[in-house]
């Protein structure tokens, strides 16, 4: 018979539709509105999992996210998700779920034999053993522990679903859609506030869903909220974290209730919510009692049993017993009785109470002042042992297959506590409740200890500003007479998932781990996926008893995000794969693409590394070809990525003298100069070219990597250290394209194109700068700025043009240079050429080298303040024994040099320095390199090895000047 435990009517399930699903391969049926847990119970499936350490059988314990036991591997393949709470999985057609952490099957789990070792596997046992023999830990013990640990099996393929992010501001964020939350949202919405209401369940209502009499108010309230345009309702949305300034993080599950997300729909959405004020209506979690055998499938929270009956239309068993210490829990057993379950008895820890009287009035046997001291049955409950409290003597066995337990309720204070709200002890509830909040926030309803639908709704409405219709209803008394533990034979669990017993807590105390944080870490209590929502306080109470102090003085472990676990991918969002970081493209990017450039990342930029030619065999063929073309004829290189900063003002020259190590104020207009910037601690920071356009206007270039850092550095100093200077800065990196036209034929290439500027050597010498116009002879007239600067060591011009003209200018130059054999060259060839010249670049300007190390000490001003001057003089930085820039060549020209090699004396292992940049040469034969060496050029003639132990290599090298090619710089001045 299908779904033998389904009731004929009632609840928020649609019996008219049937959903087929599979659990551990078994075909079962349920209805829309079910969770996997309710559907399993409807089918009479009680055994759903195995506990973490001891592999004891586990059943469904709760009806919500506080579930410690019923964890499934949901879905298969790349979408497989371990540890998914069956109580929170919305049933859908075709759902496939499997139990976890058992072999070969749930019913016959070999690992349960571990239970025979029970007493040995006490808390912290692994700290006391596995130490001998020493080698066995990693080879034998640990692999087995790791294989046995974990719970479910993760997917190993990339996630096929995608996730998106939303940002929102609201006046009021209401967390929790039960009676208090719904009332708060409606009241605030009616007052005109922009309201967001987040509910982690797929239905709004919370406790209202368990009360048919309240359905009208629930429906009417939701209808009213739907008419308010400034109110947003987010079901299936978990608010997981509360951060500074009333900013909260939430994850909305858009498609987890479907087999897979519809096309173009994200699976989940990550919300960053910035709230004017927050109303926490997060309800409360019922807590367990630690008695022997409290983990047997069939033992369930009383509120959960009520939920399965009233909300899901499922009888969670046939014969039910209640074990409680509060009146609120009685509603469950009265409802079960009305639904046809036998109720052999109620066990109340209190000697008398309103609940006891009400039960007797219904003809239910009551054991008052009594406790459950054991359970019977194998993998499912068959009976409970009851005895009177404080007495000795025999216990009675009550036959039943369902034990509803309630030790009281814990207000769900996670978010309040995360936000800094202190917690106070409430004697009546024997639980923590929020105190005075630190942020703009209020806790209402059960989250504040106000239980019962009518009271909670009134509390929420007040927080929202009042003035809305409220539900009627009886008061609900959640007062408890605390009972945390029942001593007896057998394991009494305080943490059902991690198999932590009350004895474990006492052991922790015995061994000196009496502080709640120590006890938690030592026993792993409350460290499972449920983070102790049902048993955390119980463990703390056991610890308090062991210490002989009141429960409240023990405290609780810190509440931290994530209040309920959320999917990793939701927070990563779209920043995955190629979209992990933005791509910055130069204005010439499309041209490079069309010409088959091989790109390289330079930070976020994409730059052409080289342009493979038809007859090129490998990368070096291309690079050498490009570099030779530059040395011999002419080449063109896109250098748009270098930072460009416009500096203007009457004090611009003074400002530049303060930020550069060398002097810039003497630069005449129409000229450029190399500029070296230091950090204030005296270490080289960045270099570039400074061009003076007018007396009051300069253009700086920076390296690609440091453009943003240099701009921020300049702005910071201008605004805080020298606000009196008349200087304005602007970044113009993206506004200008820049291309280097380099080679002996570069003048001949450009001259016919350039109007308004005489390019002869006398008129436009090395380091000159001027504005001009480029006329491509085909109708394109482009403004250009020419800088006669050279990184390659050849006659060269940097041609800058506003970005929109980039491709026109580039193509015009290529046409004009065709007769001279012009080709484009990339960063690899650029690197080869600059290494031949001994120009330092990023590998040398690595944040650890000084101007002196770089051979640039002579550039630094002797007089006048500049950033870095003072601290560069510290002994450690002025030490002449520091590794200094040198050139290196292999003694045997066919040997290869490698960057990252260390320079050592032959046979030695003391590093005297390292190689920073290498290349094959075109002007010289073989490999060349730049590096830093103690003693610098003074070691010319000393036999040295470039040692690369990572590859087992050592190459004989000679120390030479770093300026391998045209050291007199004749060619650039030609």
């Amino acid at each position: 018979m299908s779904q033998p435990f389904r009731t004929a009517a009632g609840g928020h399930v649609d019996r008219a539709a049937t959903l087929e699903f599979r659990f551990d391969g078994r075909a079962l049926q349920g209805h829309p509105g079910d969770t996997l847990a309710s559907a399993l119970l409807a089918n009479g499936v009680r055994l759903v999992g195995r506990s973490f350490k001891l592999h004891r059988p586990r059943g469904i314990f709760s009806a919500g996210v506080e579930e410690p036991n019923a964890l499934a591997e949901l879905r298969t393949g790349a979408r497989r998700e371990p540890n998914t709470r069956m109580t929170a999985i919305e049933l859908h057609a075709g759902l496939e779920a499997a139990s976890q952490n058992r072999f070969p099957s749930l019913r016959w789990d070999l690992m349960s034999l571990v239970g025979l070792l029970g007493p040995v596997l006490s808390a912290g046992f692994y700290y006391k053993t596995f130490m001998w023999p020493a080698s066995f830990w990693e080879r034998v013990y640990e692999p087995r522990i790791r294989a046995a640990a974990g719970l479910g099996r993760p997917a190993t393929a990339p996630d096929p679903d995608h996730y998106e992010a939303m940002h929102v501001h609201c006046d009021v964020l209401v967390v929790g859609g039960g009676p208090a939350g719904l009332a708060a949202a409606r009241a605030a919405g009616a007052a005109g506030a922009r309201v967001m209401l987040c509910e982690q369940d797929f239905l709004f209502g919370g406790g209202l869903l368990l009360e048919p009499a309240q359905e009208a108010w629930r429906a009417e309230t939701l209808a009213a909220l739907a008419t308010m345009p400034e109110v947003t309702l987010l079901p299936r949305t978990t608010v997981f974290g509360y951060y500074d300034a009333n900013v909260l993080g939430a994850v909305e599950r858009l498609a987890d209730h479907l087999a897979e997300p519809p096309p173009h729909t994200p699976r989940q959405r990550y919300w960053t919510i910035r709230a004017g004020r927050v109303v926490l209506a997060t309800g409360a979690h019922e807590r367990l009692i630690a008695f022997p055998g409290n983990d047997r499938p069939g033992v369930m929270l009383a509120g959960a049993a009520l939920a399965y009956l009233r909300r899901f239309g499922v009888r969670p068993g046939r014969r039910a017993v209640l074990f409680a210490n509060n009146d609120a829990a009685y509603e469950a057993v009265f409802a079960l009785q009305a639904a046809g379950l036998a109720v052999p008895g109620v066990v109340d820890a209190r000697p008398d109470s309103a609940g006891i009287a009400a039960a007797r009035a219904r003809g239910i046997a009551v054991w008052a002042g009594a406790e459950v001291c054991g359970t019977a049955g194998g993998a499912t409950l068959r009976g409970v042992r009851v005895r009177h409290r404080g007495g000795t003597g025999t216990d009675t066995l009550l036959a039943c297959d369902l034990l509803c337990i309630s030790g009281g309720i814990n207000p769900a204070v996670h978010l309040a506590s995360q936000s800094g709200t202190p917690l106070h002890w409430n004697e009546r509830l024997a639980a923590h409740v929020p105190g005075a909040p630190v942020q703009a926030q209020l806790s209402v309803g059960a989250a504040a200890g106000v239980t019962g639908i009518a009271a909670a709704a009134a509390d929420g409405a007040r927080a929202g500003g009042g003035g809305i219709p409220l539900p009627d209803g009886p008061a609900q008394d959640a007062t408890v007479a605390p009972i945390w533990e029942v001593r007896g034979r057998g394991k009494a669990f305080v943490d059902l998932q991690d198999d932590v017993t009350a004895d474990d807590i006492r052991l922790a105390h015995r061994e000196g781990f009496g502080h709640i944080e120590h006890a938690k870490r030592y026993t792993t209590h409350a460290m499972g996926t449920d983070q102790g929502k049902t048993g955390g306080l119980v463990g703390a109470a056991v610890l308090a008893a062991a210490r002989g102090v009141p429960v409240e003085s023990v405290g609780l472990p810190t509440f931290r995000p994530f209040a309920t676990p959320v999917t990793w991918g939701a927070i990563a969002g779209h920043h995955v794969g190629r979209a992990y970081a933005p791509e910055r493209r130069t204005p010439l990017h499309d041209w490079h693409l069309r010409h088959a450039a091989e790109f390289v990342e330079a930070g976020h930029w994409l730059r052409p590394a080289y342009y493979p030619g038809a007859s090129d065999g490998d990368v070096w063929d291309s690079v050498l070809r490009e570099a030779r073309a530059v040395r011999r004829d002419v080449g063109i290189c896109d250098v748009s990525t270098l930072g460009k900063i416009d500096v203007q003002g009457a004090d611009a020259a003074d400002f530049l003298d303060r930020v550069y190590a060398n002097t810039l104020s003497t630069l005449p207009p129409g000229r450029a100069r190399y500029g070296l910037m230091l950090r204030e601690d005296g270490i080289a920071f960045d270099d570039g070219t400074v061009a003076r356009l007018t007396p009051d206007r300069f253009l700086l270039s920076t390296t690609t990597a440091n453009a943003a850092a240099v701009l921020a550095h300049l702005e910071f100093h201008l605004q805080t250290a020298w606000p009196e200077l008349d200087v304005a800065l602007a970044s113009v990196t993206d506004q200008w394209a820049a291309m280097s036209v380099a080679g002996p034929r570069s003048r001949e290439t450009l001259a016919p194109l350039i109007e308004g500027l005489d390019l002869s050597n006398d008129a436009f010498p090395f380091m000159a700068v001027a504005d001009a116009v480029l006329n491509d002879g085909r109708g394109e007239i482009c403004p250009v700025r020419l800088f006669r600067i050279s990184f390659s060591g050849e006659l060269a011009y940097e041609v800058a043009t506003p970005a929109g003209h980039a491709e026109a200018v580039w193509k015009a130059i290529l046409r004009a240079g065709a007769e001279f054999g012009i080709i484009p060259y990339g960063t690899e060839a650029l690197g080869l050429l600059r290494i031949e010249k001994g120009h330092v670049a990023g590998a040398e300007l690595n944040g650890q080298t000084t101007a002196a190390d770089l051979g640039l000490a002579r550039l630094c001003k002797k007089r006048g303040d500049y950033i870095g001057r003072a601290l560069a003089q510290r002994p450690g930085l002025a030490d002449p024994a520091r590794p200094a820039l040198v050139g290196l060549r292999p003694l045997h020209r066919s040997d290869r040099l490698r960057a990252g090699a260390h320079l050592v004396l032959p046979g030695g292992s003391d590093s005297l320095g390292w190689i920073s940049s290498v290349t094959r040469g075109v002007a010289l034969e073989g490999w060349i390199g730049l590096g830093f060496l103690r003693g610098g050029l003074g070691r010319a003639g000393t036999p040295l090895h470039a040692a690369f132990p990572l590859l087992g290599e050592a190459v004989e090298v000679e120390v030479v000047s770093p300026h391998f090619f045209d050291p007199e710089n004749q060619r650039v001045r030609d």
Binding site: D161, T529, G577, Q848
Partner: protein, 416 residues
């Protein structure tokens, strides 16, 4: 009481009632030869090595709260010695060697697991830097291997090589690096120090440091005044506060670093993997949770909690590196208090106050140094001068310009 498998068995028969406290929770005496301030891993290790190596046992460790609940209880448990600068890698290598024998030494299973630390790189420049670092290690006898792309794929197939924004080019692997169970380290050192006579005083906050003629004489605490012949500070993010009490300055900013753990799953990540295109590192604990983190939030904090931007950066970097992480669920986040120095390297040694030493400035790398820091700090206290291994980690190296900047980031780099 010695721990062993046999002891577990015999105690089990006694219902586990015979276990003794792992360390005595004593009240402070009125004076000690040496007082260590700070009951985290470094302070407890210092006390242990004072007793074990130097026979100095009239020692107290003062802990404001309960031992091991500061950074020692909050880190991502990585141990390694794969540093560039010889002053660093030789120190951390000594620490790693101490890790290798630690469990037997302490008779406590700290679960030291040398399963490998792999640093990915994604550019030629990064490869050269990794090679420079690995070669430096190898020259000093420390294990390092350079992996190419194919070898990275074989080592960890979950790493995204194909669809990555910054394709992986290879990695630097230290096989002897790995993880250790952080809580066990604190408890193990505490128990071992206690067995040698060290007093561990908890819930004892130092409120003042008394000096006379430039020499430390006593500590004023919430549990009374304690005279001390020598004092060692091991208080991490609180270093500025304690130094202030003694009247000297330290170049430290305290910052929050967030860390995270996922729900426990079956074995997925077998080594420690660090990303090269964003600040991110991950490993899997023996219990099954993935333990991971990234960079600082980036502003001074003593709050031990951070905000969403740092969370987003970490999670995005994780999925970029290993797409399979996407469907795991994040279980918990927390924060520590990092004592950041201007060059990213620590301070172990003498202070301007005679008789007062310190170990601090560990930035976010202090856990791996726990045994080495304790060992060197103990030496410094016992001998009155640093050991060669910590001789470079001076307080005044910033005045001298003898910086130990591994990455070239510069002073208080987040400020630049």
């Amino acid at each position: 009481m010695r721990y062993s498998g046999l002891r577990l068995l015999t105690q089990a028969f006694a219902g586990n009632t015979g276990w003794k406290p792992a360390w005595r929770d004593t009240a402070p005496k009125s004076s000690y030869d040496v007082v260590i301030v700070g009951g985290g891993g470094h302070g407890l290790a210092t006390a242990y090595y004072l007793a074990r190596e130097h026979g100095i046992t009239n020692v107290a460790v003062l802990e404001r709260g309960r031992i091991g609940l500061g950074n020692t209880g909050r880190n991502t448990t990585i141990i390694r010695s794969n540093y560039l600068l010889p002053e660093n890698h030789n120190f951390y290598e000594w620490s790693l060697k101490l890790w290798e024998g630690l469990e037997q030494d302490l008779n406590y299973n700290a679960m030291v697991s040398q399963r490998g630390v792999l640093n990915l790189f994604h550019s030629d420049a990064a490869r050269h830097a990794a090679a420079r670092r690995g070669n430096a290690m190898r020259l000093d006898g420390i294990d390092a291997e350079l992996l190419d792309r194919a070898q990275v794929a074989e080592f960890c197939p979950l790493i995204d090589l194909d669809n990555a924004r910054f394709p992986v080019m290879g990695g630097l692997l230290q096989r002897r690096g790995g993880t250790a169970r952080h809580d066990a380290v604190a408890w193990g050192f505490a128990r071992a120090a206690d067995r040698r006579g060290v007093d561990i005083i908890q819930e004892c906050e130092v409120q003042g440091i008394e000096t006379e003629g430039g020499r430390v004489t006593a500590l004023r605490t919430s549990r009374g005044r304690i005279r001390a012949g020598r004092v060692g500070l091991a208080v991490a993010g609180s270093t500025s506060l304690l130094a202030g009490m003694a009247g000297f300055e330290v170049p430290i900013e305290s910052h929050v670093l967030q860390a995270f753990v996922s729900e426990a799953v079956k074995p997925l990540v077998h080594a420690v993997i660090t990303f090269g295109a964003g600040h991110f590192y991950i490993s899997q604990s023996d219990k099954g949770g993935l333990v991971f983190g990234g960079g600082l939030d980036g502003w001074n904090s003593y709050a031990q909690r951070g905000n969403l931007p740092a969370v987003e950066h970490v999670f995005a970097a994780g999925v970029a590196m290993m797409p399979a992480l996407s469907r795991l669920r994040a279980l918990r986040s927390w924060g520590g208090m990092m004592d950041m120095t201007p060059d990213g390297s620590p301070i172990i040694g003498l202070t301007p106050i005679q008789g007062l030493t310190m170990t601090g400035g560990w930035c976010y790398g202090g856990f791996k140094a726990t045994p080495g820091s304790g060992w060197c700090h103990a030496w410094t206290i016992a001998k009155g001068e640093p050991h060669p291994l910590n001789a470079a980690f001076t307080l005044d190296r910033f005045r001298q310009g003898r910086l130990l900047d591994e990455r070239g980031a510069g002073p208080f780099a987040w400020a630049q």
